[in-house]
């Protein structure tokens, strides 16, 4: 299972506490993780990436294994530690504004 850490507002929207776990079949990429996340929690559609373009929203970042994957292509494989569930995939609301 893939472990995902969501920011506070998205946890509230999805009505979850703590980490979220999703099943990803095949290669573990940003796109695959987000597809699985949105399938499990439809309320999150449009909150992390645009409904139509599927581009990451400007003030959302993706971290894992102490690295920033925000600017990576969505189909780039993520580290094995994420795929194995040893490390979480972090969806982060960027620090901006008050």
């Amino acid at each position: 299972m893939i472990r995902i850490v969501l920011p506070y507002h998205l946890r509230k929207l999805a009505q979850v506490d703590g980490e979220v776990r999703v099943q990803v079949d095949g290669q573990v990429t940003q796109r695959a993780i987000l597809d699985a996340l949105e399938a499990q929690y439809p309320v999150l559609r449009g909150t992390i990436r645009d409904h139509v373009t599927q581009h990451r929203r400007d003030f959302v970042r993706f971290f894992a294994c102490s690295q920033d994957f925000s600017l990576e292509a969505p189909d780039t494989p993520l580290p094995e530690a994420v795929a194995k569930g040893e490390e979480p995939f972090l969806v982060v609301g960027a620090i901006a504004g008050g």
Binding site: H9, L13, R45, T47, R57
Partner: protein, 371 residues
């Protein structure tokens, strides 16, 4: 016994304020959706316990929330606002073409006759409709694809469709207002639209009498007189008596003809309210005195209403969605400020008091009169 319920949208959540018909003691609940910008909350006139709320942030985009129990519980409905057809461009601040991009829902307007129908005014300016209580949204693209659409340009607050007024005598006639394009009217339920800006003059555009390009801040209608409309424009208070075909200035003796909200007394169609704001650039009450102005003659002759409002050192603003009237007798009038106060008057504006003082900056105020 009648009750009133105020629906208050703020920069950091939504609040519901309730009172009995005396409107002296208020219960405050909230914040709902804490930390999110709540641009607008409005209830269905057909089913007052059905409420719709526009919830957004710059981080995570748009949500639409719906309550079927008067705001006790809420559930997310569809948040997918996709422009129909070839998207095209509008004019950007620098005059260049800019692709239409959805940013947020400014205004939700439930139908007067069907609790499952609700309209949404969005930024970049477009008109959406849901016929299933918000479960799905579809653009009525005839507005955005009007021949003038590619020339619409945003005001400082964005290219927003912020006002939707339904004609209670004809469900197919709807007025909308866009900053900074102006007023448009449909007579066929939203399929086709005509600009309704004749008589408006704006010094901020090259052709002061242009068909479109006017920064209309708000329009209001009394339900018994659907051909009479009142407008607060970015400078000038205006009136139309022919369904928006032509407008005439009624600013009269106002200390400033700039402001954002305008509303009509529930039982006196010629009695209207505005809140003058000093502009250009300052956007706070003239002389630091928070004054509501009332005209009992449909404009031109205005009186200041000050009893209970701060008359010194007051530098708040009142935004376009942030004033409402109830339908009790006497009519209640309410408004919210950028300082987080919500003021109410239970006697048509003669006396005011602060219902709450320390909310986040207020974006919108709606009121429901409940039996």
């Amino acid at each position: 016994m009648s009750r009133v319920r105020l629906l208050v949208g703020t920069h950091k959540g939504g609040f519901i304020l309730t009172s009995d018909a005396k409107r002296q003691r208020w219960d405050v609940s909230g914040p709902e959706f804490a930390g999110w910008e709540i641009y607008h909350i409005k209830g269905s006139p057909v089913d007052p316990d059905r409420l719709f709320a526009s919830q957004s942030t710059g981080w995570f985009g748009q949500q639409i929330q719906r309550s079927n129990d008067g705001g006790k519980t809420w559930a997310s409905v569809d948040n997918k606002f996709v422009y129909e057809g070839k998207t095209g461009t509008h004019q950007w601040y620098d005059g260049t073409p800019h692709p239409w991009e959805f940013k947020r829902v400014w205004h939700l307007e439930p139908s007067l006759i069907d609790p499952d129908v609700v309209y949404a005014g969005v930024e970049d300016a477009a008109f959406f409709r849901s016929t299933d209580g918000g479960q799905t949204w579809h653009e009525l693209a005839g507005l955005r694809q009007h021949t003038t659409g590619s020339a619409w340009a945003p005001g400082a607050g964005g290219l927003c469709l912020h006002t939707i007024v339904q004609d209670p005598s004809d469900s197919r006639r709807i007025f909308i207002a866009i900053s900074a394009a102006g007023v448009f009217r449909t007579d066929d339920g939203g399929e086709t639209w005509r600009p309704m800006n004749r008589g408006l003059r704006s010094q901020t555009i090259p052709d002061q009498d242009a068909e479109v390009g006017h920064c209309v801040h708000r329009i209001a209608m009394h339900p018994s007189r659907p051909r009479t409309l009142f407008m607060q424009k970015h400078w000038d208070v205006m009136r139309s008596t022919d369904g928006g075909e032509s407008w005439h200035e009624v600013s009269g003796n106002l200390p400033s003809d700039f402001g954002f909200p305008i509303d009509v007394h529930a039982h006196e169609p010629d009695t209207i309210y505005v809140i003058p704001i000093k502009s250009d650039s300052e956007h706070f009450p003239p002389e630091g005195k928070l004054r509501v102005y009332r005209s009992r003659t449909g404009g031109n002759e205005w009186e200041a209403l000050t009893n209970g409002l701060p008359q010194s050192n007051c530098y708040v603003n009142v935004l376009r969605e942030a004033m409402a009237v109830d339908s009790l007798d006497p009519c209640g009038v309410y408004f919210g400020t950028s300082g987080g106060q919500v003021y109410g008057s239970p006697d048509a504006g003669d006396h005011w008091s602060a219902i709450v003082r320390d909310l986040p900056p207020v974006l919108s105020v709606e009121v429901q009169t409940l039996s």
